[in-house]
Amino acid sequence: MQDFIWLVPLLPLLGVIINTIRGTLAVRQRHTAAHVGDHGHADHGHHDHHNAARIPGWIASAMVIGAFVLTLATFFSLLGQPARTAAGENGRFFDVTYWSWMAVGNFSVPFGFLIDQLSIVMMLLVTGVGSLIHIYAIGYMSHDQRPTRFFVYLNLFIVAMLMLVMGNNFLMLFLGWEGVGLCSFLLIGFWFEQRDPPWASTKAFVVNRIGDFGLLMAMFAIWTLTRDVQGNPLHSLMFREVLAEQHVQTLQFTQTAFLGSQYTAAGAIALMLLLGVTGKSAQIPLFVWLPDAMAGPTPVSALIHAATMVTAGVYLIIRTHAIFQLSPSVMNFAAGLGAATAFVAATIAIGQYDIKKVLAFSTVSQLGYMVAAVAMGGYVAGLFHLLTHGIFKALLFLGSGAVIHGFGDEQDMRKMGGLKSKMPRTFWTYLIGTLALAGIFPLAGFWSKDEIIGYAYDNDHRLLAVVLIISSMLTAFYMARQVTMVFLGEQRDTSIHAHESAPIMIWPLILLAIGAVVAGLINLPGLHSLETWLAPVLNEPVAEPAEFHLGLAGLTLVLALASGWLGYYYYSRNARRIKANERDPLYRWGGDFYTILEDKWGFDSAYDLAIVKPYKAIAGFANRIFDARIIDGIVNGAGWVVNQASRGLRVLQSGYVRSYALMFLIGVIAVLGYFVLR
């Protein structure tokens, strides 16, 4: 399989190329058709258009499915190799280099892939969930004006995401990292004619760039500071070289001072990497872009902003855990950040009315769980939750997409209600996703979330465990609120005709629902298959399965059930009070506290006040006054001085020949006088 790994990203890339060419030709044809003025076929029929619109979708989906099959083949070929070599090192990986990407001086980076236990898991998630979402999108985008372009972007995203997880060095990871950022930008802004999407896409790109700044600095520092065993600079960005234990250790010996505190190089690098993580994985303080990113089409939210791209940060921490482990203080900080994000985002989710915004904040919250888990050292627990979350959150987003699609493109939950009978399949799959997310036994979310909380409890992060349990209660509450508001009770806005979606959209839901039920199997307590699988790449000598705390799990489950029931009870009791454009019934209880939740804790307005407005003001000042008056003023001032001086001198240039002659004479006398009197 090693020789064919390049086919995995190449297939979606082929999809990009084919669909681009098809799209360009179509534009050409439309142009010529418009020129010929061929209006005879104007009523060509809706049906034809729909079938034509599905072709690019099928091409794109076929490519991703192909990539999934190839990834499976790679997986089995990895499985066929011994887990550890005779020397006790990781035996299951392919490290292939294709060509030298950049090389100048002592800097050299290849274009190559590293497929090990960690990347193959991510690849399976990306291509697997990606395939289902592609198929779903065929139905979802069938009414759109530009399906071809949509699938070009979507395939391009798969390529970039694969680069991110398959790269064998930091720059390859960064190639994917920025590539998914670009695709995210394009897809959020896909409906560019509207007011919000362009703004949201710019915001997403720029906020992510702040994170990328961290990643860039981390790469510079890693390249510059890592030493080999002899103490010479290693000058490498290859994962298998830099992150090897004997090399990464050297990062502890360099110190740097910043803002009055001393950091080891490892700490500083970890902090910079963490900045990258907060950008891509939407952690405090950079999470603000993700909720706005919901302006994109729903399959995009499912694929990019729930299942895959936003988990890149978690992947990054696991990949570079060797660096993080050298700096316990940064690890603790990151864990606190993750837990805080989990809590804050969960509270905000309660205050949202947009069906997708609730899910967006839920995603932020769950990403907080993952970051907290990996930052506590629970890499397997974090990855486990990443996988299960990827499945059930994709399910929820696709379900919400089916709701939006079948409810006249309306996203306000206050107008919905009673959709259970109108779209039963959507309801049941959505319910499974909800239960999985809320962590209800025996669905996937129960196992993965419990493992994180259990890990926190085991490793003296009791406070974090408590915060995470509270967040889990909040999760159950807001999901119950959402399901109640959307599916139960009576339809509030009856002007909209609600209907079930087409089978092509329902089948992916069913498949994902099955996944949400059984995904817990991959790391069940007692079996710990994922743990065993990942052990070699995490450099843990013997896989040490986390203990399963029956009491803790039971407590979490009971609390989640209770708050879920509370949410259901409260919102079905107060169903009459929910009205379009009016505030939530909870406002009566929470008052201003509820306003804070609606206002997303004021992050956006704070940034607006502290960064955006000052930046605009400074730019305006620099443009109108500093550059024009001061810098250019000095330049023009020099010109002015010369001008004035010549105005003074021009008195001498009278135009009278005889006055020139007089000056001549005076000059001669002066010169002669000098020689005479010398």
């Binding site: 021009r650 009278s654 009278y656 020949v657 005889r658």
Partner: protein, 102 residues
């Protein structure tokens, strides 16, 4: 006949030069100014030849030829200018031709 001393030549040359200078400074008629300039040039020529003779060297004479040639060219250009100025302005008074100023 006794030799005329170099001093005498130089004295004549100086007198001629001074007349030239005064002519340029006091007269407004361009043609007379021209003549004064010629006077100055020729006084210089006289001095050059006088020194040349005194030093028994031909350098001064060579330079004199240069000066004569340049003066001829100068007169040609100058008179041409003067004619065109006269055509345009109907005057040879230099004070009336003062448009070229800063």
């Amino acid at each position: 006949m006794s030799e005329i001393s170099t001093n005498a030549y130089v004295l004549v040359s100086a007198i001629l030069f001074t007349i030239g200078v005064i002519g340029v400074m006091t007269r407004r008629n361009a043609i007379i100014m021209f003549m004064s300039v010629e006077l100055m040039l020729n006084s210089a020529n006289l001095a050059l030849i006088a020194f040349s003779r005194a030093k028994a060297s031909t350098d001064g004479q060579i330079i004199t030829f240069f000066v004569i040639a340049v003066a001829a060219a100068e007169v040609a250009v100058g008179l041409a200018l003067l004619v065109s100025i006269f055509r345009a302005k109907r005057t040879t008074n230099v004070d009336d031709v003062s448009t070229l100023k800063g």
